[in-house]
Amino acid sequence: MSLQFIQEPLDKTAPRVVPAQSVTLNVNGQDRTIQIAPWTSLLDALREYLDLTGTKKGCDHGQCGACTVLVDGKRINSCLALATVYQGKKIQTIEGLGTEDNLSPLQQAFVDHDAFQCGYCTPGQICSAQGLINEGRCKTEDEVREHMSGNLCRCGAYTNILSAVMEVLHDGEAVVDNGVLITVPVASTKASSVE
């Protein structure tokens, strides 16, 4: 009855309440069901509801690329995506690209090339670079620079990010894994890829 007492004045002044919806997202190969509002961004769903905090919130306006994830193998800004409309899609985050014991080729290349300082932009950089490789459109350094322009690094690690991406771009081969394109290293092409 005390509830009734509290709700009565609220009903007259508060905006209407939209109930949370049950939403199932396929993230890193697993179906995960969460209760979220229609306005919950994919970024907030990953970080706050699924505890996948590898994906970072930078500007929250699609300008910095820190929130970049892969959807059906394509890179997008998760901050501008409403999570409810991404049901049925294959979402990949940095947590799904490799493990601590078995880094993905890009993750290993970022370590080898010292391609980060503070690391805040790194998950977005790596997901974006994976998207770039999946697209198969870039060959030269200038092309990679242009097609990584949606990812800002305020430490200024761009030179080494470029080196890391170029290494995997030349050494990797795209394969389909669980319906999603990923890049795997091809040892045999390493020597012959030198131009």
Binding site: G131, L132, E146, G150
Partner: protein, 345 residues
């Protein structure tokens, strides 16, 4: 952001019904502009009709030789579609000159047409803006207005339409297909966006409830002689200060047909059909291009001098037209479809 309800429509007529049955509703495409504007409280829809499940993602050839771009095809899928790259390289390169790969992967063709201006004052809730709050005034007339327009402006608004893609669609004379409560209709691209006049709050000529379903390209794609020249403050990921999309049909050094449009200078992609006619039947020459450029900007009005204000766009725009026409006429017949950097083929 305000609270809202959301429906996922699965067909165009269902989407139109859903939107028109909710007060304060908006269509949600890729969300790259709308969700951003909602985060700034610039758009406050109480209901979203999501279009993500609509079967409007195909790019298909038309019987008349043209090409139909589904409204829900992403900008990236459109730019990299084999038919677009081969037959409409101007459109492909223009799309790739805009935004970032992440944004182009989510942004849709219909949404690209309907994105709002990036005028500083439209985004600054502390300042008057007739486009955001009709009747409050235009802060850009006297404030820093480097990004604002110099052609077709009014005392109510000097904002620009920010799209790159739309500049190419204007030059290509595309046709926009829409569906609304009263059925389907088509809108010539020149008539889709409008000048600000006394109603800058209206960006386009869509009627309430109307949904873009496709963009039709005519058969002529100017694949042998075209240019998208985009001039901006950074060479990547920046809106155009001035841009020019050109499509020419050449016979030797004679221009048989000419179409061009400008971005970054007006409330809509700017075409000047009299200027296009000045080119047709003429021998390509720098003098001719300079006369055409002078004609386009003859009635331009700048809003202040110096780098913060936009009068520089008049001379910049003229030079951009001359250079873009020169590049288009001098192109080799063989175009590498993989050239996409900064649109200089």
């Amino acid at each position: 952001m305000n609270s809202f309800t959301l429906t996922q429509a699965t067909a165009a007529d269902e989407a139109v019904r859903d939107l028109t049955s909710h007060d304060g509703a908006a269509y949600l495409g890729g969300g790259t502009n709308l969700v951003d504007l909602m985060k700034y409280n610039l758009e406050r829809p109480t209901h979203l009709t999501s279009l993500g499940l609509l079967p409007l993602t195909d790019i298909t050839s038309l019987p008349d030789g043209g090409l139909r771009l589904g409204a829900l095809a992403t900008n990236a899928d459109t730019a990299w579609h084999p038919e677009v790259e081969k037959r409409y390289p101007l459109l492909s390169q223009t799309i790739l000159a805009g935004a970032t790969p992440q944004l182009r992967n989510a942004a849709t063709n219909g949404g690209n047409l309907n994105q709002r201006t990036r005028c500083y004052y439209f985004y600054d809730l502390a300042t008057p803006c007739n486009k955001r709050e009709p009747g409050t005034g235009c802060s850009a007339l006297t404030g820093p207005n480097r990004v604002c327009g110099v052609l077709g402006t009014s005392e109510s608004c000097i904002a620009t339409q920010p799209s790159d893609m739309c500049v190419a669609l204007a030059a290509l004379e595309a046709v926009v297909r829409v569906q609304g409560p009263d059925g389907e209709r088509t809108i010539k691209f020149d008539d889709y966006h409008r000048l600000p006049g006394d109603h800058p709050e209206k960006d386009n000529t869509l009627k309430p409830g109307e949904l873009v379903t496709a963009i039709d390209l005519p058969e002529e794609g100017y694949a042998d002689h075209f240019t998208y020249l985009k001039l901006r403050d950074r060479s990547s990921y920046a809106f155009a200060l001035v841009s020019v999309a050109v499509g020419l049909k050449m016979n030797g050094n004679t221009i048989e047909k000419a179409r061009f449009a400008l971005g970054g200078v007006a409330h809509k992609p700017w075409r000047d059909q009299e200027a296009e006619k000045m080119l047709e039947g003429q021998t390509a020459s720098p003098d001719l291009f300079r006369q055409v450029a002078a004609k386009v900007f003859a009635e331009a009005k700048g809003y202040g001098e110096g780098s913060l204000h936009n009068s520089f766009k008049i001379e910049l725009g003229k030079r951009a037209i001359v250079r873009a026409l020169k590049q288009s006429t001098e192109m080799s017949q063989v175009v590498n479809p993989n050239v996409f950097l900064n649109s200089n083929p």
